[in-house]
């Protein structure tokens, strides 16, 4: 069988070979190792591990907190991006640079700092504790840590798309009698949705596997605040490599499925957008006449 290049550009085979080798070395081989190690166990053992309540509750905690944090980040991150794109204010560049800090900061530092803030004797925690609100050492603390870690993913993916949005479209919508809410819902959101979904997916994927920052603020009590990555570490401490990779493989598969769904949504919203624009085109043309 011969592979035929679809594009007229030369260098297809070289590009494909390079892509395959690079992906294999960096991504596929390490991940295949996880599944190979898992395969040392029989099906029954794998199922037993994955069906144990401890593992299930850790998985649902990790995926649940990551989803909530990514959703919150998608909303507030978009607001932050909007402010940066549309408004000018003193110190804007400084704030803009600060958005990237969670990328650069070692996650353990973030975790310790957040714990210090939100613990019962911390700056923030001391005001919340008397009100009966506990953040550090509860699942809420996990969400706080993931909010911090995930924010730049959303802001940095949405920002460039937002910058390309034409102000004239909003003005046109307003002059045609659209309310502000209609403008957001029908004009802005459809164009932003694909990048928003990408940001959401990145923040979510990062949150699911996050260990360094979460471990300090979570409290790590089994069935309450024990995240799935910690279960993996616990199994490693028992020198149970296959058991550890079983949990890891389950996380990989789950995350992969969810990312596929998000990708599908994105493709759908892209098509949706194209149709929207196709519909909008004649009206605009008509308006110009």
């Amino acid at each position: 069988m011969r592979l035929k290049p679809k594009s007229a550009l030369p260098g297809f085979h070289l590009a494909l070979g390079y892509t395959l080798i690079y992906l294999s070395l960096i991504v596929l081989i390490p991940l295949a190792g996880v599944f190979l190690k898992t395969a040392e166990l029989g099906w029954q053992e794998i199922i037993d591990i994955l069906r144990s309540e401890r593992v299930l509750s850790a998985l649902s905690l990790s995926f649940g907190t990551a989803l909530i944090a990514a959703a919150l980040n998608a909303f507030f991150g978009t607001l932050v991006a909007w402010v940066f794109v549309r408004y000018d204010f003193p110190g804007k560049r400084l704030f803009d640079a600060m958005i990237d800090l969670p990328f650069a900061l070692p996650t353990a530092v973030a975790g310790i700092a957040l714990t210090a803030l939100y613990a019962g004797n911390g700056w923030v925690g001391q005001w919340l504790e008397p009100l009966g609100i506990k953040i550090a050492f509860t699942p809420v603390g996990i969400i706080i840590a993931l909010l911090f870690i995930g924010l730049p993913f959303v802001v940095r993916t949405v920002e460039p798309v937002m910058r390309d949005l034409e102000k004239e479209l909003e003005e046109a919508a307003a002059s045609l009698g659209a309310s502000r809410w209609q403008t957001i819902r029908l004009v802005l959101l459809p164009s932003l949705l694909p990048s928003l979904l990408t940001g959401f997916a990145l923040a979510f994927a990062r949150g699911v596997g996050e260990y360094g920052s979460v471990i300090f603020i979570a409290g790590n009590l089994p069935y309450v605040s024990e995240i799935a990555p910690l279960l993996i570490v616990i199994r490693l401490e028992e020198f149970d490599y296959a058991g550890a990779t079983t949990v890891a493989a389950a996380m990989l598969v789950l995350a992969f499925v969810m990312l596929l769904v998000i990708n599908g949504l994105q493709a759908w919203s892209n098509r949706h957008k194209v149709r929207h624009q196709a519909l909008a085109q004649p009206i605009q043309a008509g308006g110009a006449l």
């Binding site: 070395l25 613990a119 409290g219 790590n220 089994p222």
Partner: protein, 340 residues
């Protein structure tokens, strides 16, 4: 070009990489010793290593360099299993060294009988650290199981030190209450009083000291002394329980690695040097209980309170048994926690 040539390219590239990796590991070391240890021995070995190097130079004329690696005991053992080329290991519990031997074959089965005192040149025990003035009036293990007392300890699943904590409480309860069932209920009560289960001893220290969480912190005796002396005697005090466990952090040569590096003689001498009068004195200075107390300073020894100590071998039939019954997946410790 066909897909087959692509496969060939992939194979070629990966074999090149494998080749490079092989060469990397073939780098031999000269007169260098790597001691892989756990967290609280940092200060001790920092002072011990240069002294041993001096002694070795005096004895053989050779210059040697000693490298140290510290971390959680389980993590360190795993690093050695995964290929960290330690010449000697000085870890928190025998189980971790057993694991290295079992999985790599680099340490013989009878390693613990190669040096005196079960290969433990120094021992320690588990004590209770409370806040100044002891506001919750904690006197013994029973007070940790009381309602309304918050206990700080790391997770025995991820911390070697915490396994000593757990076994100390369990051994006390079993002797006092007479049955395993009662002892299990007792430690379950203690662990239900634990609000934060950190992964390592240093994390727990932070939780107790910096975050101000908890009424009592179960700790190595040497760490408790460090905490009181460094963070201020005006903040914490040590409560010595009536009975505790004799914690024996063992040492051994990793024969497989030492043979490969040609450091067998140095490694053996290094560990034997730990049993000399000089080292025993140093050990006591760093708050470890020396195996040969006659060589330690009297004032250092006076700091160690007298209490009844039992060993893992006496109460639990050795580390292998203790690990299997209590800490492995589905063991007694896992049964403490139930889904809510």
């Amino acid at each position: 070009m066909t897909i087959k040539t692509n496969v060939k390219q992939v194979l070629l590239a990966s074999s090149l990489l494998a080749f490079a990796a092989l060469h990397q590991s073939a780098f031999a070391k000269g007169n260098e010793l790597l001691n892989v240890s756990y967290d609280p021995t940092r200060e001790l070995y920092q002072e011990f290593n240069p002294e041993f190097a001096k002694y070795w130079k005096f004895k053989t004329g050779e210059d040697i360099g000693i490298k140290q690696s510290h971390g959680g005991a389980g993590k360190q053992a795993r690093a050695v299993i995964d290929g960290l080329a330690a010449d000697v290991v000085t870890l928190a519990l025998a189980y971790d060294i057993d694991a290295i031997g079992e999985r790599t074959g680099k340490i013989p089965k009878d390693w613990q009988s190669r040096l005196p005192n079960n290969s433990a040149p120094y021992t320690s025990t588990i004590v209770l650290l409370v806040r100044k003035g002891n506001p919750k009036n904690i006197r013994d293990w029973d007070d940790l199981a009381r309602d309304g007392v918050q206990v700080i300890t790391p997770n025995p699943k991820t911390s070697g030190g915490a396994r000593w904590n757990y076994l100390a409480a369990y051994g006390y309860a079993k002797n006092k209450l007479g049955s395993d069932k009662a002892a299990q209920d007792f430690v379950a009560k203690i662990f239900r009083n634990v609000p934060v289960l950190d992964t390592g001893a240093r994390g727990s220290t932070t939780t107790f000291v910096q975050r101000g969480i908890g009424d009592v912190f179960i700790s190595w005796e040497n760490e408790a002394f460090l905490a009181v002396n460094e963070l201020g005697p005006d903040k914490f005090e040590i409560v010595v329980p009536s009975v505790s466990i004799k914690a024996e952090p063992p040492v051994t040569v990793v024969d497989g690695n030492a043979k490969k590096h040609g450091t067998e003689a140095i490694a053996k001498a290094y560990l034997e040097y730990l049993y000399t009068p000089f080292a025993q004195k140093l050990v006591a200075k760093h708050y470890y209980r020396p195996f040969l107390p006659e060589f330690a300073d009297a004032e250092d020894l006076a700091r160690f309170p007298k209490l009844k100590l039992f060993t893992v071998d006496e109460e639990f039939g050795g580390w292998q048994n203790a690990q299997k019954t209590h800490f492995l997946d589905g063991g007694v410790f896992d049964q403490i926690y139930t889904p809510r």
